[in-house]
């Protein structure tokens, strides 16, 4: 994080003395404010060396997701932006309603949920379904547990799983080919519905594999933000370098998927897709980099993070290969979320011996 602050300081010094750069000064200051404000440090123990808080944390995650968001507009037209706006407005109303009713401060946690949620939906999802999903996600995924920081499950995934079981037709059979070449989606609002199948769906139903290059660049049908592996990796690396996401979780999750699909292709070649394809296709990278690393629902101890990723990988490969759903990242993360407190507890007990419980 220090190198980022230093380079921004240098940039701000550079622009400050040069009035001919016009608005550049303000732009640099704004970026600095987004990432580094507020500057208060913790007043209570434990004292932190860096003054990172929820707002700064969430702002950095949003920056990390920007490449995939821009790609979704390029691939699927401006309707992608409309879905994000609907998600922010509808979910924001639910969030603010609850914070007002409980007389609490409005936290910034929703900024991340509000943008991650539309990015994991099919591009043709009707806007009212987006609104229903984000409201259910915010209320049942977060507010019933007490609000930001208390939720067991990732709120965006709760909304997504509710939509999957409630509107099966809209959510799993309306995939479209993305637009490519030239301005692609930048000149269009949306795509005329030509149904198609995701790479994982094609493998599950017909046993055919899509080329790795297409899957890597993202010119394949899929959810809004998950298609381009390249841009997700760029955003994910940003989060890892700024230490917002712990590198252990994506590494052990992706490693475990690679290992188990490598084993699986020997045992059940018709059901388990080959490792690199599994890694790049579907929502795995999105889930591993942006969902599984959510600090509220992931374990906090280092040992538990490795175990968490291992189990996520086993679940994802199994669901993809042996269930009725071609994709299993969403279900695996929600299922394993339940066990994060248990994993933490086991690591602590192993390290320090049985912990005296604060309750009887």
């Amino acid at each position: 994080m220090n190198w980022l602050k230093e380079s921004l300081n240098d940039l701000s010094d550079f622009t400050a003395g040069r009035p001919y750069l016009g608005y550049a000064t303000e732009v640099v200051d704004t970026i600095e404010a987004i990432i580094f404000a507020p500057t208060e440090r913790s007043q209570e123990r434990p004292f932190l060396r860096d003054f990172i808080d929820v707002k700064r944390y969430m702002a950095l995650v949003v920056i990390g997701i920007v490449p995939a968001t821009l790609a979704s507009i390029y691939f699927y037209g401006w309707r992608a932006l409309a879905m994000i706006l609907v998600s922010y407005v509808a979910g924001g109303i639910a969030e603010v309603g609850f914070t007002l009713a409980r007389k609490e401060e409005i936290t910034e946690g929703f900024l991340v949920t509000g943008i991650l949620f539309p990015l994991i939906l099919p591009p043709t999802t009707p806007l009212w379904i987006v609104a229903v999903g984000i409201i259910v996600g915010v209320i049942l995924g977060k507010e019933v547990f007490g609000g930001t920081g208390y939720n067991i499950f990732n709120p965006a995934l709760v909304g997504r799983v509710f939509l999957t079981v409630t509107f099966p037709v809209a959510m799993s059979s309306n995939w479209v080919e993305p637009l490519t070449g030239g301005w692609a989606g930048l000149t269009k609002y949306g795509i005329d519905t030509v149904t198609s199948a995701t790479p994982l769906g094609q493998f599950a139903n017909e046993g055919t594999l899509v080329g790795l290059k297409e899957v890597f660049l993202g010119t394949i049908p899929g959810s809004l933000g998950e298609s381009s592996a390249l841009l997700l990796i760029i955003g994910g690396l940003f989060l890892i370098v700024t230490k917002i996401a712990d590198w252990r979780i994506p590494l052990s999750y992706l490693g475990s998927v690679m290992a188990f699909s490598y084993l699986g292709t020997f045992l059940w070649p018709n059901q388990v897709a080959p490792p690199v394809f599994q890694l790049l296709a579907g929502g795995l990278l999105f889930g591993a980099l942006f969902m599984a690393t959510d600090p509220v629902t992931a374990p906090t101890t280092k040992g538990a993070k490795w175990v968490y990723g291992l189990f996520l990988g086993v679940m994802t490969v199994s669901i993809r290969a042996f269930s009725g759903y071609p994709e299993g990242v969403m279900f695996s993360i929600l299922l394993i979320n339940m066990f994060s407190p248990l994993m933490d507890d086991m690591v602590m007990t192993h390290r320090y011996g049985p912990v005296q419980k604060p309750y009887k």
């Binding site: 379904i129 049942l140 019933v144 509710f162 079981v165 409630t166 509107f167 099966p168 809209a170």
Partner: protein, 199 residues
């Protein structure tokens, strides 16, 4: 508020079997995907509970304590069989929709619980009022749940289309997950209106 009204309101709201005592959930979750099922089940439980409460309150003191549960079961089973046969004879479709759940009223803990805790210790009039209040509360809960579930799941009420033909059915609402979600939300609402006093 005199004694009779108080007993009735207690059963309907403050001791509501579903929202407050969290009893009888097997039936509540299973049959509330249509309003007509909810109403039928509410009426059936009303009949069984009021009738068996009355009998138990009358004969209660003559039943030896050790065999009281089998005796209660016998009384309940008699009335449940009557309801079951009545439904089979006059409302065949409904009877098939409710399936085994009419028979399962026998083992419904709401009924046995009321007989054990109230009717066996109170006079016939109080027992009947209490049974009416509790089963009215149960019916109200069933109807509240089934209105939400049928409206969202089918877009209809009593089978009549109310939300227009363009309504996209919320499939999960007529399946088990919808039952659990709606029950949880209604319990939440009920307890927000009148919070439980922690004893």
């Amino acid at each position: 508020m005199n004694n009779t009204t108080e007993i009735f309101v207690n059963g309907l709201w403050r001791d509501n079997p579903v929202f407050r005592q969290i009893l009888g959930l097997c039936i509540t979750l299973a049959i509330t995907n249509r309003v007509v099922n909810g109403v039928t089940m509410g009426v059936a439980v009303f009949f069984v509970l009021v009738a068996s409460s009355f009998i138990v309150s009358v004969i209660g003191e003559y039943v030896p304590r050790r065999v009281r549960i089998p005796v209660y079961m016998l009384i309940i089973a008699t009335f449940v069989t009557l309801v079951y046969m009545f439904l089979r004879a006059y409302f065949t479709g409904l009877s098939q929709a409710l399936g085994a759940y009419v028979g399962l009223i026998i083992t419904n803990c709401i009924i046995l619980g009321r007989l054990e805790s109230f009717s066996s210790e109170n006079g016939p009039w109080e027992s009947v009022v209490d049974a009416a209040g509790i089963s009215a509360g149960f019916a109200a809960a069933l109807i509240a749940m089934s209105v939400v579930r049928e409206l969202l799941g089918f877009g209809t009420l009593f089978g009549i289309n109310v939300l227009g033909s363009g309504w996209t059915p919320w499939v999960s609402m007529i399946l088990a997950p919808g039952g659990f979600l709606v029950l949880g939300l209604l319990v939440w609402i009920e307890r927000s209106i009148s919070p439980v006093e922690e004893g």
